[in-house]
Amino acid sequence: MRTAVRQAPRAALIALVLLVVVWLALKGSKDGTTFLQVTLNGLSIGGLFFVVAAGFTLIFGLMRVVNMAHGSLYLFGGYLAYKAQASWFHGAASQFSLTAGNKVSVASFVVPLIYATVVIGLVGLVIQQVLLRWNQGQELRQALITIAVSVIFADQLLAHYGGIAQTINQPTSWPLSVTVGSFHYPFFRLAVVLGSAVVIGVLLYLLIKRTRFGMIVRAGVDDRAMLSAMGVNVQVVFAAAFFIGSALAGFAGVLGGAVLSVQPGYDTQLLLDALIVVIVGGMGSLGGAAIGAVLLGLVQSYSAIYLKFGSTDLTNYAILLTFILVIVVLAVRPLGLFGRPA
């Protein structure tokens, strides 16, 4: 009886997954092109989620710091790149000038991208060195500190950049879409967002599994005190990890600013997405972040399109499916799919 009760969530999960797969297969067989489109949408937005969540989970895995200001760093990165593009490359940031034939050079996208990534990495580093370094180990206090930082950031970003949604322009010399046969898909989403997510994932994997730095990081995740006792300067490793994690948030902010937009509220939106990704995938696990990001992206994009049954349109309730995803995973694995006890 007890085991039956224990197994109930697992059985429910398997049944649910089967149901979803069958349902999607039915939808896919009806209209293949739309299905492919929706799937790629989910994967590319999942790629964005992955870049944000990877930084979040890297910082948490090593330092046990839940950086609640991660979403603010994402948004700040977007604004920095937007401003840089507008003021350094004349005309590039005016959306209306595009139709008049104005060119957006590759440099006017790449330079702000690098600039925002580096600056946000440094901002994160400053936050860590000034506010977090001296109360290491007090997880909740650190979470509260970063919450305070995020409150201040949200207000300051609103004051400095205003409340209007802005877009970072994509280079005009890049193709608009990728075409396979009769199927078109936006080039930027596929190649730049999804591509850079894959590249970042692979690079992080290599960094963590193949380099001396990664070896130290992995050792630090398992036993910080012992690593420190063996003569490794843990503080430098922490600082580097915080820089990389924050820089990833800034990088994602620029991509998000080009694909979606830069506007107040996206800080909490992306923080929520990153939280769900790591709750589902398991805190501190890079593979978990990848799985969680893909799952979240697909759930969001499928539920936004396919929650229509005959004439009843339930797409308004799409957010409930995200909720169900979180609940189901937590019920079966409280630490997430790839989570390990600290």
Binding site: L144, I147, V151
Partner: protein
């Protein structure tokens, strides 16, 4: 351990937890004085002060005390309290009569039935979510409940059938409150009564066998589990009790605002309740109302005080100010204003020849004081590490 032995042990703990030391009596005396002053407030203070500042501080304090209770006695810092009060508020606002019938289902139930329904729905959903979330601890619990808050916010933002386009407005309330916009005194007394009731309820609960077991679970979950206590169930029930308290705040907030919109339960409000609880001090239940008063005063008066410094600071930038206050409190005094007060008494008290403040601390020692003070205790793992060390 058999059930009888467990009850026996808990009973012993309960007897120990009921000291009638002079210090405890002094504490009650202070509370009684504050209570009387508040009862007389409408006669003494200016009308705006009572109907706006104090009323908001009272219901915000109820929302915050649900968090303080969970943190102090259950070791769970929950960011889901605003989601729960939002569910209660929206559930009530949808079923009762709304005057202009703008948004919401407008089913036309009587206000009191709506109150019961709102609280019941919120408590039920919180019980279900708590059953899942109670298995995660410390920072994981914080994130899981933050996810709840954000999801509820986006849910009501998207489902306009339930939230209307600009929220559910002109929600009707029980008749004896009268017109809350012109005369806030009845609502003030309702908030005062609810605050007193919630405070006494929580003080009572933490001294019951359930409350004692909950504190044991806060300090060392594996040990309590091995003693035969159902750890997830205790945590779930604590979360549900917190939800009940939060849903009362939700009802009161709707009456205070006369409406509820998704914006009322957004991330800003979630953080506001956290900020209130932390500013006041998570170490004592009273801190919630102290924090709420401080928060409301800053919110109320910062507009006229704040100087304009370029883009950085201006009358509209209340959030920057409260964020900085919050940051300073977390950095300098994790016990909040109550912690500052207690430290002042330790330093200054003896100089003035007052009673040494060690006495009240000793009086409360049986309440199973956490090993460390303040925010860090709320984390189960760190406090158990301290024990083992």
């Amino acid at each position: 351990m058999s059930a009888a032995a467990r009850i026996g042990a808990a009973g012993a703990a309960l007897r120990r937890a009921r000291p009638t030391t002079p210090a405890a009596a002094g504490g009650w005396a202070v509370l009684a004085v504050i209570g009387v002053l508040l009862l007389l407030a409408p006669a003494i203070g200016p009308n705006v002060w009572v109907s706006q500042v104090l009323t908001q501080a009272l219901w915000l304090g109820i929302a915050a005390v649900s968090l303080t209770f969970l943190s102090r006695y259950g070791g769970m810092i929950s960011l889901g309290q605003v989601a729960i009060y939002g569910i209660a508020g929206f559930a009530m606002a949808n079923v009762v009569h709304t005057i202009n019938s703008e948004g919401g289902l407008n089913l036309g139930w009587t206000p009191w039935l709506g109150v019961l329904f709102g609280i019941a729905v919120a408590v039920f959903i919180a019980f279900l979510y708590g059953a899942v979330a109670s298995r995660s601890y410390g920072i994981y619990f914080l994130m899981t409940t933050l996810a709840l808050s954000l999801l509820v916010f986006y849910f009501f933002g998207q489902v306009t059938q339930l939230s209307g386009f600009g929220g559910v407005r002109d929600v009707s309330h029980p008749g004896f409150l009268g017109d809350t916009l012109t005369n806030g005194t009845p609502l003030f007394y309702v908030c005062l009564g609810a605050s007193a009731g919630v405070y006494l309820l929580l003080r009572y609960v933490v001294r019951t066998p359930f409350g004692i077991a909950l504190q044991g679970i806060r300090d060392d979950p594996p040990r309590m589990a091995s003693l035969g206590y159902n750890v997830p169930l205790h945590r779930t029930l604590a979360f549900t009790l917190g939800a009940f308290v939060a849903s009362i705040a939700g009802i009161l907030s709707v009456w205070y605002n006369t409406q509820i919109a998704p914006g009322n339960i957004g991330i800003g409000q979630t953080l506001a309740v956290l900020i209130v609880a932390v500013i006041g001090g998570l170490s004592r239940l009273e801190g919630a109302w102290i924090g709420a008063l401080a928060y409301t005063l800053i919110e109320w008066y910062s507009r006229s005080w704040t100087p304009t410094v370029g883009n950085w600071l201006g009358p509209g930038q209340f959030n920057t100010i409260i964020g900085i206050v919050f940051l300073l409190i977390v950095l300098l005094s994790p016990d909040g204003l109550i912690g500052i007060w207690q430290r002042l008494r330790t330093r200054v008290g003896p100089l003035l020849g007052g009673s040494p403040p060690a006495a009240p601390e000793a009086g409360r020692a049986e309440e199973a004081e956490p090993k460390q003070t303040g925010v860090s205790t709320a984390d189960g793992s760190s406090s158990s590490e301290v024990q083992e060390a």
